[in-house]
C-alpha cells in the first residue's frame, strides 16, 4: 500500500472502516502515468493552421463559390455553398434581374458592392451580357435582389473558409 493509500486510510481511523476500505475500494497497484508527447493540442493545431498564405481560401472562395472550402477539403460544405450561391445567382439571372454596372447614386453603389461579391460570376455575366439593363418585369426586381444577396452570401462563405484556414473555426 502506497503512502497516499495510507493517508487515505488514516481518515477513517477510529471508525472501524480503515480495515474494510481496501477490500471495498481496491486501489491500483501502479500509478497511472500519462504522456502528452505526440498528442495534438489546440495551440499546435492553431499554429499549424496559421502557417502559409492564409488568405488563399478567402480569395478563392470569393472568386469561385465554394472553392475556399474545397481547398480545405471540406467537400460537403463547399458543394452546398456552391449550390446555394450558384442557384441563387442563376435564378436571379433567369428572372431578368439587373446587374449593377455603375455607381451613380448611393443605392447603385450598394447594389454594385453586393454584385461584386459574386466574384468571377459577375465578370462572366457582364462579359456575356446576361441580366437586364433595365427592370421591365415584376420578377426582375426580385431577380435583382437575388443577384445582390447571392454576392453577399458568397462573401460570408469566403470569410467562413478564411476562419477555417486560420483555425478560428473547426
Amino acid at each position: 500500500m502506497g503512502q497516499s493509500d495510507q493517508g487515505f486510510s488514516d481518515l477513517f481511523k477510529g471508525h472501524g472502516l480503515a480495515r474494510a476500505l481496501p477490500a471495498a475500494f481496491p486501489q491500483p497497484r501502479a500509478p497511472v502515468r500519462y504522456s502528452l508527447k505526440g498528442m495534438a493540442n489546440p495551440q499546435d493545431k492553431k499554429a499549424a493552421a496559421a502557417s502559409g498564405f492564409v488568405y488563399l481560401p478567402l480569395i478563392a472562395g470569393w472568386l469561385v463559390p465554394g472553392a475556399g472550402h474545397f481547398l480545405l477539403r471540406k467537400w460537403g460544405r463547399g458543394a452546398l455553398l456552391a449550390l446555394s450561391v450558384l442557384g441563387m445567382f442563376s435564378i436571379g439571372i433567369a428572372m431578368q434581374g439587373k446587374l449593377y454596372a455603375g455607381a451613380h447614386d448611393i443605392l447603385e453603389m450598394l447594389g454594385l458592392a453586393g454584385d461584386l461579391g459574386n466574384g468571377l460570376l459577375y465578370v462572366v455575366s457582364r462579359a456575356a451580357g446576361w441580366g437586364a439593363d433595365q427592370i421591365t418585369v415584376t420578377t426582375g426586381d426580385y431577380g435583382t435582389r437575388f443577384l445582390v444577396v447571392a454576392g453577399l452570401l458568397n462573401v460570408i462563405a469566403a470569410v467562413d473558409a478564411h476562419n477555417l484556414r486560420t483555425g478560428r473555426k473547426t
Binding site: R77, L80, L81, L83, V85, G87, M88, G143, V149, L153
Partner: protein, 59 residues
C-alpha cells in the same frame, strides 16, 4: 425566363440563405442543420406574418 410566384420566390430565397447561414454560423453538422431549419422557418414565417399584416392594414 423564370416567373415564379411571390411565395415561390420567398421559398427559394429562404432555402438558399438558410443553407449558407447554417453552414457558416455553426460548427457541427447537427447544429448546422438545426440552425438552417430555424432560419428557414423564420424567413418564411416572417414573410407570411408581414404579408398578413400589410393585407389587414391596407383594408
Amino acid at each position: 425566363m423564370l416567373h415564379p410566384s411571390h411565395f415561390t420566390a420567398v421559398l427559394l430565397f429562404a432555402l438558399f440563405a438558410s443553407i449558407v447561414f447554417g453552414i457558416t454560423q455553426r460548427d457541427t453538422p447537427r447544429r448546422m442543420v438545426r440552425y438552417g431549419l430555424y432560419c428557414f422557418v423564420l424567413f418564411v414565417g416572417a414573410a407570411i406574418v408581414l404579408s398578413w399584416l400589410m393585407f389587414l392594414i391596407a383594408r
